[in-house]
């Protein structure tokens, strides 16, 4: 998921030359702390916990290989997942360690505004996926999002979507891998290459052996570890602060005149909040196009949902995910706020402000708070949570890449009629290939760090337009194959065009983001809004000018042509729509509480 600065679940780093071993108190001079080669030291118990984790995930992969024989097993986990397993996996695939650390850092930088990416930037989209879109993904029996585009719009739309998704997924995976390795180097003093190879080979082994089944099982394990490892920071932090009010008072004392603890009341103008963003961009850019594009069309997450055992489970899975997603700020945003309350002002700085005197970036706030509170054993659990998060995100990337490459590129273009066993074999090799390309990307980024910004931006180019294309395809019978393809292409190219325009001429920001005071994140939100609207407009216009498919070909794909099973025979408390309503009410209550 995109960060406020437009980056999707990753951190950016400049390697500090000097790092410190211990954490400072407010009274301790920072210079005293610059001495040793790493921030935290692990005990033998901590190391044992980390090693046990690696043994467990590999053991699960080896164990599940015997249950992964067919393509349906390998690529869709046999479509046998319960709602809980699919829901937790759906969330865990998104909850990478870089997501954890990056968003904790964003909270340290921007305050509670960062929680928008977990609430308005996620919950409505997840509920839309559950109630409106899942029936079409599930009933069409597609194996992927590009697969749905092929059924609805034909090969050109599938090819455009499959190549862009496959390419960008492994690149993103490599960037995340590099960023994680740098964290482990800075925090623990671990060698970057060792971290990259050990963690990625582990993922390659367990996903290659057990496919999506193994990825999902491990994601549930990783989800538990992430929560159990990170939750304590917030609990102990609130104890130290004397509760929420105590923490807010400390933040106000440290940063007088600045508001880091309200969600909406500072969003009336670009200059009134630390993010330099307006509520229009948050609601329509983030809440509509970016979040709905990501949560409803990014195959990395959708794949987990369509692996559910029946339609009701598939609809419940994103709702369960949404319920937990609403709680994630407690383990991600709150540590960032606690950092504002307890860390010395200026201890963490922006990436471009790091120096010998200030080596630590905002993104390190979560491991730093772990070091502040955790003793032997608990620190190992905390670091395991970060590694587990990274591996769940990477496994999500490579399993989705493997499926899209095998079904939507290899089978569609190179070999249409091979045996099921052949495609499973290709899927296993693709997993290894995906990991190797990711490792290559990690080393490439190590040499040319500016690549990161372009790749991140490139990924975002596809999200907003794809949402418009898929939603129109599902909801409007009149949408034609030509309309879908040209709309997607126009939305994507216009997004790239706007990005290049602002790169070439920064004053263009006043046109893209509607204000010369807008900051980078506002530009990203507005760019998504415009590219989504362009996609929808072009799709509608071209569709009206071209011949639609007959309704008989739209069965199972489009609203009005698809018989969706009624849930009227179920008790109210078993209906997905009921639980979606409960989540929606809690979501609104949270917005009011933190208004």
């Amino acid at each position: 998921m995109a960060r406020p600065d437009g980056r999707r679940g990753r951190l950016t780093f400049a390697l500090p030359v000097h790092t410190i071993r211990h954490l400072p108190t407010l009274t301790q001079p920072l210079a005293v702390l610059q001495a040793s080669s790493r921030l935290l030291s692990l005990s033998s118990v901590d190391l044992a916990i980390i090693v046990l984790y690696f043994i467990a995930v590999l053991g699960i992969g080896f164990y599940l290989k015997r249950y992964t024989k067919t393509g349906e097993d390998f690529f869709l986990a046999g479509r046998e997942m319960t709602a809980w397993i699919a829901g937790l996996s759906f969330l865990a695939a998104n909850l990478g360690s870089l997501e954890l650390m990056g968003w904790a850092g964003a909270a340290y930088q921007y305050g509670i505004l960062a929680a928008h990416w977990y609430w308005v930037g996620a919950i409505p989209a997840m509920l839309l996926l559950a109630i409106v879109m899942i029936p079409f993904y599930y009933i069409s029996k597609t194996h992927s999002v590009p697969g749905y585009l092929m059924l609805r719009y034909g090969e050109p739309a599938r090819a455009l979507s499959a190549f862009s998704f496959g390419f960008m997924t492994v690149l993103m995976s490599g960037i995340n891998m590099y960023a994680m390795a740098v964290v482990l180097q800075v925090v623990l003093g671990w060698d970057i290459s060792l971290s990259i190879w050990v963690s990625s080979i582990t993922v390659a082994v367990y996903v290659g052996l057990g496919g999506l089944l193994s990825a999902i099982f491990n994601e549930v394990l990783q989800f538990m570890l992430i929560w159990l490892g990170a939750l304590l920071v917030s609990i102990i932090g609130l104890v130290e602060a004397g509760g929420w009010n105590g923490m807010v008072a400390r933040i106000h004392a440290n940063y007088p005149g600045q508001d880091f603890t309200h969600l909406w009341r500072t969003m009336g103008s670009f200059t009134a909040n630390p993010m330099g963003i307006h509520w229009v961009a948050i609601v329509f850019g983030l809440g509509v196009f970016i979040s709905m594009g990501y949560w409803t069309t990014d195959f990395l997450v959708v794949q987990r949902v369509i692996s559910a055992k029946d339609l009701r489970s598939a609809k419940l899975a994103p709702i369960i995910g949404a319920a937990f997603k609403m709680c994630v700020p407690f383990i991600v945003i709150l540590p960032g706020l606690l950092g504002l309350a307890f860390l010395p002002k200026g201890f963490l700085v922006a990436e471009n402000a790091t120096s010998v005197l200030h080596p630590f970036k905002y993104d390190y706030v979560l491991p730093i708070m772990m070091g502040r509170y955790f003793g032997p054993g608990l620190l190992g659990l905390g670091i395991t949570a970060l590694i587990a998060g990274f591996m769940s995100g990477m496994a999500g990337n490579v399993s989705a890449f493997s499926t899209v490459w095998t079904y939507d590129i290899y089978r569609a273009i190179f070999r249409k009629n091979a045996s099921d066993a052949h495609y499973v074999s290709v899927g296993r090799w693709c997993t290894i290939l995906g990991v190797l390309v990711s490792i290559g990307t990690a080393y490439l980024v190590m040499s040319f760090k500016s690549i990161m910004d372009y790749v991140q931006a490139l990924f975002s180019f596809f999200i907003a337009p794809l949402f418009g294309t898929v939603l129109l395809g599902m909801m409007w019978k009149r949408t034609t194959p030509a309309g879908g393809f040209w709309g997607l292409l126009a939305g994507t190219t216009s997004s790239i065009g706007m990005f290049l325009w602002v790169k070439h001429d920064p004053t263009a920001l006043r046109y893209i983001a509607l204000s010369p005071n807008a900051k980078d994140m506002a530009e990203n939100m507005f760019r998504a809004l415009w590219s989504g609207l362009i996609c929808v407009t072009v799709t509608v216009v071209v569709s009206l000018l071209t011949k639609p498919k007959p309704e008989s070909e739209l069965a199972g794909l489009v609203y009005g042509c698809t018989k969706i099973p009624s849930e009227g025979n179920l008790p109210v408390y078993k209906r997905p729509i009921f639980w979606a309503g409960v989540v929606a009410v809690v979501f609104v209550a949270i917005q009011i509480i933190f208004w």
Partner: protein, 81 residues
């Protein structure tokens, strides 16, 4: 998911949590029972001073043991299932 003979993922999770709980609780007890060395005192000064009095390792480790035991027993593979 349920396939004949397949061990539930919750069993794996329970077993790992149980082992983690024992390790973390043990480390917490050891930390509480030993007198801090000069080095440890120095390190504690760099952290929140009150954290040592909370004995977090013991009760969080205990929580993991309880959770792990429940999951391990409830989802243990059994003959005939």
């Amino acid at each position: 998911m349920h396939r004949p003979g397949m061990i539930s993922i919750w069993f794996f999770i329970g077993a790992l949590l149980l082992i983690y709980g024992i390790l973390i609780c043990g480390a917490g007890i050891f930390e509480a029972a030993t007198t801090p060395t000069a080095a440890a005192v120095a390190q504690a000064n760099l952290r929140w001073e009150g954290v040592r009095n909370l004995h977090i390792g013991i009760w969080w480790g205990g929580l993991l043991i309880a959770m792990g035991a429940v999951y391990t027993i409830k989802f243990a593979p059994r003959k005939g299932k």
